[in-house]
């Protein structure tokens, strides 16, 4: 069980990390996006992961925030 002070510290570090990350952005031109546009760099789940993500959502209590669906279908078996 984390103490409130530790929780605040984790929250502060997360916000600080995100702020530093986003403020350190450089403007990348379209012709410089060869690597960013690589199919492996995509920031979402891939088609081949569909069934494993379904079963993870059935077998675990948590779901969502992974660009997939957040409900619908039974998942009862």
């Amino acid at each position: 069980m984390k103490k409130p002070k530790q929780k605040k510290l984790v929250l502060f570090c997360s916000i600080a990390f995100t702020a530093i990350l986003f403020t350190s952005c450089t403007s990348v031109k379209g012709y410089q996006k060869g690597k960013i546009n690589d199919s492996e760099m995509v920031l979402s789940n891939r088609k081949i992961e569909k069934t494993e993500l379904s079963f993870q959502s059935y077998r675990e209590g948590a779901s969502g925030a992974n660009s997939g669906k957040s409900g619908g279908g039974c998942g009862c078996n």
Partner: protein, 394 residues
């Protein structure tokens, strides 16, 4: 396994005949006619084993197999004003066998629900103004199986930043579900014929923002707010109390979930990519969870890459969970479903991707073949394996 490959190759042959009509310079040409952009065929075989089935009150076999086949067709056309219209049509069918579902009727040799099929089509339309970097989307879906019917709808809005390095997306989804109330056989009223039904509704709002940080790194923040109401138990889950009596699982009729995630993809050198994901989850059933995932695709040649991956998951468990024979009449809500218990899990495996210049087996438009295997292990002694194949036509 054989069925997966037969399905894949039959569909592959079907689309090969269409591929010959597509002009080779179609990639750069903005067609005013509806054009086949991409087809994905995905087949998976999943198998799990364990000894904590919720159908038998937290004891008994969790053995389950599932064969899933989906086809996803993307069609694109450009309007007179340069607006891009994308239609994504997807259909999937699962066939599963479940040892635990077979125990709903303990006296039968085999219950009707020991195996079933699930059919889940969906349609999504996207209207993209490439000049303004703005996309509007709308979609519908359904999922049908013997005891469960779900209808879904969603709308979305995306806006790219002026320099096209950032994108904000807002999405709203709803699922209107109806389930048959199939009770364990010993809890059915004498002489009961047929099943009652109950509703379950899900409303989910998603906000995400993605940003290209530099030539090698991009990051995305995503957060959902999910609200569920209706019948959130499962009617055939048994719960055995300390006094030996058997009951149907009973859960609250509302649930509020907040998952927050961050994703990053980093190109290290010329051949290695690091994909990372972290999610924090909390809900009002007192379940908290952390998920951390890393995958490292390595391009061994121009046409072949391997992707080892590892995913760690931990959850606290809901306050309504107790194992077999531990609940009492003093509990307002109760479940012995180990999916809601405290546990850690690991999922690891490897993916392989082939993108030969001349297409798979020399079929030019079938340009990608992916294979992926993963092994899942949970501290409640449940294990599973999954193997998937994806063939892409483009």
């Amino acid at each position: 396994m054989k069925r997966i490959f037969i399905t894949g190759f039959a569909l592959l042959a079907l689309f090969q005949t269409k591929a010959q009509n597509v002009p080779t310079d179609s990639i750069s040409y903005k067609s005013k006619k509806l054009k086949l952009e991409e087809v994905n065929l995905v087949s998976s075989y999943y198998k799990q084993d364990g000894d904590n089935s919720a159908v038998t009150g937290g004891i008994g076999s969790e053995h389950l197999t599932d064969i899933a086949n989906t086809i996803d067709v993307k069609l694109v056309k450009y309007g007179e004003t340069g607006i891009k219209h994308t239609f994504d049509i997807e259909a999937g069918i699962d066939h599963y066998t479940s040892a635990s579902s077979d125990m709903i009727d303990l006296s039968a040799n085999s219950s009707a629900s020991s195996s079933d099929n699930r059919f889940y089509p969906s349609l999504t339309y996207l209207r993209e103004n490439e000049e303004k970097g703005r996309t509007l989307g709308i979609g519908v879906s359904s999922s049908t199986e013997f005891d469960y019917q779900s209808y879904g709808g969603n709308i979305s809005f995306s806006q790219k930043t002026k320099d096209r390095n950032g994108e904000f997306t807002a999405k709203f989804q709803t699922f209107i579900d109806q389930l048959k109330l199939i009770e364990p056989v010993e809890l059915r009223p004498p002489g009961q014929e047929g099943y009652g039904s109950a509703n379950r509704n899900t409303f989910a709002g998603t906000l995400s923002y993605s940003q290209v940080v530099n030539k090698n790194l991009q990051v995305m923040l995503v957060g959902d707010v999910i609200s569920q109401n209706g019948y959130l138990s499962l009617p055939f889950h048994r719960v055995y109390f300390a006094d030996g009596s058997v009951h149907q699982e009973k859960m609250p009729d509302t649930r509020f979930k907040i998952p927050l995630g961050i994703r990053a993809s980093y190109f290290l050198g010329d051949n290695i990519i690091i994909r990372a994901y972290y999610r924090y989850y909390t809900d009002d059933w007192s379940l908290k969870a952390h998920t951390a995932d890393i995958e490292i695709p390595v391009k061994l040649t121009q046409a072949f890459s391997v992707s080892p991956f590892y995913r760690y998951y931990t959850q606290t468990g809901t306050k309504y969970f107790k194992p077999y024979g531990e609940h009492t009449a003093a509990d307002e809500y109760y479940t012995s479903n180990y999916d809601l218990s405290k546990f850690n899990s690991s999922f690891f495996g490897m993916g392989m991707k082939f993108t030969p210049l001349n297409g798979i087996f020399g079929l030019k438009h079938w340009n990608t073949l992916e294979l992926r295997y993963g092994h899942y292990t949970r501290t409640t002694n449940m294990t599973s394996d999954i193997i998937s194949i994806n063939i892409k036509y483009k």
